[in-house]
Each structure stands twice: as C-alpha cells, then as structure tokens.
C-alpha cells in the first residue's frame, strides 16, 4: 500500500479535487486539446503570452482521473510567469521525474530548485507505468498549444 500512498499524496488529492486555473482563457494565444485514447481522458490547455516571450497565463479544462487533473493543475501553477524556453526545459525535467528511474527528483537543475518539492510529488507514478501518461498528458498538450498544434495525444 506504500506505493499507493506515494502516488496519491495529499497534495495530489487536493489538486485533483480542487484544480487551480480550471477555466477557459478568452483570446488565448495558444490552445490545444489533449486526449488519451486508451482511457478517454481529455484536457484542453489555454496559454496567454505576455508579448515578451513569457507566459502570462496558463489554464485548463477537461475531465480525467485524479492524476491527470492534479498534474494539469500543478502545471498551470508551475508555468505561469515563466519564459517559453524555461517552460520547455521544465517539461523535460517533469518528464524525467515521471519516467526516469535513475533521475533523483530532488536533484533538479539549479534554475528549478525552488520547484523541486512540487515536481517530485509526481514521482510516484514511476511505480505505475499504466498511469505515466495520465501525468504527462497535460504537459504534452501544453507543448502542443505553444507549438501552434491543435491536438496532442499520449499515443
């Protein structure tokens, strides 16, 4: 049961129950729909840029499991106010946290040191390979929105 407790930490349950930035952004500069065809989870991510290469606002809507919802919610908090380049690097770190057994989630690159705690929360999915896609779907969708693609999929 320990692995379950590690996956379903209080902070994930909290974000899953009361997702932050769960709304639509009118006149978004980028938006994309992501879906996980395996299970039918769907997220819609909206991005508003600040005109100087930064992310003014990131929000999402959709329906999914606690892991998808919490990951999307925490992602919006982690991304707001960052530059696009930083956001992409953060995605790489997040991906490693979720998938790379050799990666110590507390040993994140210096520029994201302050986020280490929030990033490592998702490390629990490593023990649940079927659920990794739930955690990464919102981030793939965010990347698609930045790249001007309309859809993202975990397949």
């Amino acid at each position: 049961m320990n692995e379950l407790r590690e996956l379903y930490q209080e902070v994930i349950l909290d974000h899953g129950r009361s997702p932050r930035n769960f709304r639509r952004i009118e006149n978004a500069d980028g938006e994309a729909k992501g879906d996980n065809p395996l299970c039918g989870d769907r997220v819609h991510v909206y991005v508003k840029l600040d005109g100087t290469g930064g992310l003014d606002d990131v929000a999402f809507q959709g329906r999914g499991c606690a892991i998808t919802t919490a990951s999307a919610s925490m992602m919006t908090e982690l991304l707001k106010g960052r530059s696009e380049a930083e956001a992409r690097r953060l995605f790489d770190v997040f991906h490693a946290v979720c998938t790379d057994e050799a990666f110590d989630p507390l040993d994140v690159p210096e520029e994201f040191e302050d986020e280490a705690d929030r990033l490592q929360v998702m490390a629990g999915v490593r023990q649940f390979p079927m659920r990794v896609k739930c955690a990464t779907l919102p981030w793939h969708t965010f990347a698609a929105a930045l790249d001007g693609k309309q859809t993202a999929t975990t397949e």
Binding site: L4, Y8, G64, C65
Partner: protein, 417 residues
Amino acid sequence: MSPDSTATVRPNYDVMAIREDFPILAREVFGKPLVYLDTGASAQKPRQVIRAMTEVMEETYSNVHRGVHFLSQACTDRFEAARETVARFINAREADEIVWTRGATEALNLVAATWGRTNVGPGDRIVISTLEHHSNIVPWQLLRDETGAELAVIPVDDAGEVDLDAYAGLLDGRTKLVSVTHVSNSIGTVLPIRQMARMAHDKGALFMVDGCQAAPHMAVDVQELDVDFYCFSGHKTYGPTGIGALWGRKALLDAMPPYQGGGEMIAHVTFEKSTFKDAPHKFEAGTPAIVEAVGLGAALDYIEAVGRDAILAHETDVAEYARERLAAVPGVRIVGHARERGAIVSFTMAQAHPHDIGTIIDRAGVAVRAGHHCAFPVMERFDVGATARASFGLYNMKSEVDRLVEALDEVAEIFGR
C-alpha cells in the same frame, strides 16, 4: 438474464473444480490471490484449450487444404471439425455457413466491405444502437462515407434499454441492414434480438448481431433468433486470440463477393481472371489461423461440457450479488439497469475516477476494466467520462465480489467516504 429469470443455480455447479481448469487463476498479483473480473475484455483459458493447441502443434500440425500428405489431411480434419463445432454451438444449418475471421471486428468489417459495398447505395440506411462497441460503429461509418448511405442510431433510455418505438421509426424501405450487439459490453443490457430482427425483416432489412458478450455466457441459436449474420470472438469465449467466427445465411454468403484475395480462396487463377471457391472459403484468403481455430473449437466444447444454462444461472447469481453489494457502497452509482442484463456491472464512484479505482484495487489483486470500454457513445449517453467495469465469467465466485467491495474500501480510505 434478468434477476427474476427462471434459470436457477444448479446445486452441482462446481465452481472450484472449474477454477482448477484455469491455471492462471492460481497466481497472485501484488501478493494477493488474483481476482479476475475482466472476462468481458478477454476470458482466461482453460487447460483443455491450451492442451488442444499444444497437441495440434506437437502431433498433427501442417498447412490445411494443401498437401496430399498424411499430416495435411489430419490437420485439415481437425481444422474443419472446429468449424463444425462452431456451427453446432450457434445452431447453424451447416458448417459452410461459418467463416473464420480474426475476431468479431474482422467479421463486422467483412460484412461491411463485401455485402455492404454490393448492396448499399446513396440514400440507403444502416441502423445501429447507442450501445455499440466501436467495432460495430466504425465499419458502418466507413461504408456510409464510401456509399453515401445514412447511419442511424437507436437511442437508449435511462435504464440502458433500446427504445423500440424509436427503432420502429428508423425502419422503412430504405433500411438495408440493422447491426446491433446481443449484450452491451459496457453496461450489460441484453437486447431483444428476436423481436428486433422480426421488425427489421418486416421492413425488408437484414439483421446482424455482434455476439461477443453473449456467446460465452448464454445459449445462442441463430435459427431461433432468426437473424442473418452473427459473429463472436474466440478470446472472449475462453479460446485464443486471433480467431473469431462469422455466421451468415448460406444464400447471403454465396451472393457476396470475396473479402481479401490470395491463396486458399481461389478455384483457379490466370493473369486474366481468377475464379473463387464457394463460401466460406472465398472469404478466407491465405493460410488461416489453424491452431487458433482448433483452440476455439476446444473452448466451445469446454463451454458445452460445463453447460450453457448452468453457466448463465451461475453468472447471473454472481453478477446480481455484485450489483447488490456495489449499490450499498457509499458513492457508488451503477450505470445501466436494464431488466434483461448480462454478467457485466459498470459503475462509478463519486469520490474517485475509474482509473484511480482501477489502480488502487489492482494492488489488492482485483482486475477490472476502467475506461470507456471502446464505447464512447455509451459514456456520453450516461454522462460519464469512464466507468469501472466488473465483468464475470464461468469461474467467478461471490467471494471475489466480496474482495472487490473490500478493495473499494481502500479507495474510500484514500479519496474519502
């Protein structure tokens, strides 16, 4: 298969002896005895099937319908005997009405591609129901897009039963085919096939049935149902993957063009022109799934040996017990309350998403399906993104339902009550 069904559990239904036939049921998952409640997705395999497949490979294997040598004849005999077993299993008039396919999906695609392209044109109508698996939706959409036909959908009510008045309204001179599931894979509704087929025939339409969730669980008699095509898959019927069967009335099969071209299905080939064998062989291009066909034959023999009425009574007993116990769990909503229902219980929990339920109870050794069950329209109809689904087979027990309910307590422990 309603709760007040006249079928009763035979006192001599020895579920423990049946479980002995399924080696995988002895294993543990995460240190707990496996509770396999995902037979609707794929059934486990009894020794009798495994042995038959091994035996044919060790003792009788060769290509079929080819050589003059001893093994070719011996293997062809076993292969064709399996076809006869399928014919008996669904009470077809003759074995030549049975076409081997890779599964029910291929059977549906075969009918759409051959009968459909020959008989369906612009303005014609194909009717399916809201309860269909994607495999009984997409082939008809492809046919619709190719031919300019219309695809109409029979609605279902809040209990998950098809609306027969609305269905009657979709039947007229333009309706060429009705293709529906016998038992809903997502919520367990048993459709009134005989009545629906009669209604279709009255308007001159043919009737096809996806029998994947019926064939393993109840007696199926295609003549009594009076339908035109019926199909089911091997792996959901305690047989191997990669094999399934399509039954069609002989006159229909004879009139249909071939499906794929190749060896096995031809009578004669020149570069100018080829002629084809008669049904069913003209639909079976290439070397068939020989070992799998033998395995499916063994699986159907196994089901018959246990007894189909006995299986139905036992599974109904277990599934109704599951409905009762699940309904009493705080936060649980059961999706689908048809009066006639199969051994499938679909549910949601207010506190937790089906995937989270599936992950948590998996650690307790309980395997259920969590998701959309390849039936997006059903999920939309009942306004759920996904459900958790417990589906039962001839080897399940009430004590396994208890294990499921106990495991749900862990979900409540994590997500709140």
